[in-house]
């Protein structure tokens, strides 16, 4: 395992080096720290977006799920996020890029000026993203423990310190550069492995025929009703247009067209990654290791049996890269929710630039270390909680954002009602305090839309100035 460990250490050193280099550029500038100066080109942004979405679950998890529950069910889960990106590019990308601030809270607080919005939105983001970060840290610890033989706590601590260092000091510039590096590594390893198997067998259809002849469950939908996947599909499809770590990427683009193109280019790359994993690597795993007790081991088993140590080392680094490229963006978004959304007004009025810089760095460290502390003994169902956390954000933010951009009758009272109703309904249905027998996301989106409609139709009409301001966002 020595070679694998050396490769991973080199990868960590590269990430810290990028963070230190970026810190010189971002010091003293909110624009540079939060949105990389709004100068990220389309292809670089696309790669960074792909890496941000592709978490540990997109490599280890997707293959384990396909192995144990079949390819159709797995694709249903991942297709929701992919569809979410075209939705984001059609519904919000141009308008939010033209709005030209830093966070989704900035837009909502502008569209629905209220202390409820300014306070509740960042609190929801911090709750949901802390859970999300802990889930990712757990995945990083398990991966390093399994593949490198390093104890869980040590692996967790080292990985967390590395990304907290480069996020806290380098901001969005460091996150973008490391994400590009990490995304490239993921694509090379997964597509390279998939293409190698394709070259051996001939066509994906032939590989599927062989695998499903031995293990027909791989191609069937038989573990759960399709309807149960509709909830997951809807969570991710509606989350992507409003989820903060993706929306921040829209703000980093050079212009609205660049933002729209990069979102969709990212999804072509992400789809290639997922499809190569489930159609080319999983069938080989099913043929060679048909009875794995832990389905999440299938990728690692295939790499171990087919490739030399150098490639295996790259595979370990790719899995860690997938985890870190998501976690760094989550940490930055979570940090912005506190130091920009919640404390921003106070800091701008009363603090020096040096203090503002210190608060940004300090916030990232506090969140990172708290998440690390929690991740030492994470709840068993943390992976399910993080999807619920994303659902909470989606259920509360989707309707206010979309209606705020497209419905002329959306007003302050409607926006506040939709936000609060969406969040409350999601929590009540998720914890079965309100048992309705439907996916929480579908209920909360419906309730949030009704609340928005009630506020818009029966509340005071929106001001002419606000309508004109939104018209400008569409027109630019």
């Amino acid at each position: 395992m020595l070679l694998e460990r050396v490769l991973v250490l080199l990868y960590f050193a590269g990430c810290i080096g990028i963070g230190i280099a970026a810190s010189r550029r971002v010091r003293g500038s909110g624009d540079e720290y939060w949105v990389a100066g709004r100068r990220i080109g389309t292809l670089v942004n696309a790669m960074a977006i792909m890496a941000t979405l592709a978490s540990g679950g997109s490599i280890i998890g997707v293959m384990g799920l396909a192995y144990s529950q079949g390819i159709p069910a797995t694709l249903a889960l991942f297709a929701g996020a992919v569809v979410g990106f075209p939705l984001a590019s059609l519904l919000v990308a141009r308008e939010l890029r033209n709005f030209g601030r830093y966070t989704i809270t900035d837009f909502l607080a502008f569209r629905y000026p209220s202390s409820v919005v300014r306070t509740l939105v960042p609190i929801l983001i911090v709750i949901a993203f802390t859970i999300y970060i802990v889930a990712q840290l757990k995945a990083a610890g398990i991966t390093a423990e399994t593949l490198l033989g390093i104890p869980f706590e040590q692996a967790l601590t080292v990985a967390t310190l590395v990304f907290v260092i480069y996020v806290s000091f380098g901001g969005m510039v460091a996150v973008t550069w490391t994400d590009v590096f990490q995304g490239f590594l993921m694509l090379v390893v997964v597509l390279g492995t998939g293409l190698w198997f394709l070259w051996e067998v001939g066509t994906p259809l032939e590989l599927m025929r062989r695998a499903t002849a031995v293990a027909p469950e791989l191609g069937r939908v038989e573990h759960r009703p399709v309807a149960s996947y509709l909830g997951y599909f809807a969570i991710w499809a509606t989350a992507i247009p409003v989820i903060p770590h993706i929306v921040m990427r829209v703000f980093t683009a050079r212009d609205a067209r660049g933002a729209r193109l990069s979102l969709n280019l990212a999804m072509l790359a992400y789809s290639a990654l997922i499809l190569a994993a489930v159609f080319l690597i999983v069938p080989v795993g099913k043929l060679e290791f048909p009875g794995l007790a832990d389905a999440d081991q299938v990728f690692l088993k295939v790499m171990e049996s087919r490739f030399p140590p150098v490639i295996r080392g790259m595979a370990v680094a790719a899995v860690l890269a997938a985890v870190m490229s998501t976690t760094d963006a989550l940490l930055l978004a979570c940090s912005s929710a506190i130091s920009h959304d919640l404390l921003g007004n106070i800091l701008r009025e009363k603090a020096s630039q040096r203090t503002i810089d210190a608060v940004r760095v300090g916030t990232a460290w506090v969140i990172g270390l708290l998440a690390l502390y929690w991740a030492y003994s994470p709840p068993e169902l943390i992976s399910q909680f993080y999807t619920a956390g994303v659902g909470l954000l989606s259920g509360s933010l989707f309707v206010p954002v979309i209606a705020g951009l497209w419905w002329k009758k959306a007003n302050r009272i409607g926006g506040v009602l939709a936000l609060v109703t969406g969040a409350l309904t999601y929590v009540l249905v998720h914890f079965q305090i309100l048992p309705v027998g439907m996916a929480p996301i579908l209920v909360s989106l419906g309730a949030s839309a009704l609340a928005m409609a009630a506020g818009g139709l029966f509340g005071p009409p929106e001001s002419r100035e606000m309508i004109e301001a939104i018209e400008k966002l569409h027109a630019l």
Binding site: P86, A227, F233
Partner: protein, 67 residues
């Protein structure tokens, strides 16, 4: 009714409608039992959606008139 909404480019509105319709179509229960090359049609539709949806959006935003 439509006057209550900000206008959307026609091609973008059609792309949005196509994405929603394709997603609904893919989740119809009939596609669970039909199989092609050993896999349920539902799985092939999901795979197609993953490629078609970003490709369609790229085509819409990459049209010469959109530059």
């Amino acid at each position: 009714m439509l006057k209550s909404f900000f206008p959307m480019d026609r091609a973008e509105a059609l792309a949005l409608a196509f994405l929603v319709a394709f997603s609904v179509f893919s989740f119809l229960p009939a596609w669970r039992s039909e199989e092609i090359a050993g896999m349920a049609v539902f799985g092939w539709l999901m795979a197609a959606l993953m490629v078609l949806s970003p490709a369609l959006a790229l085509w819409v935003f990459g049209r010469p008139g959109k530059r």
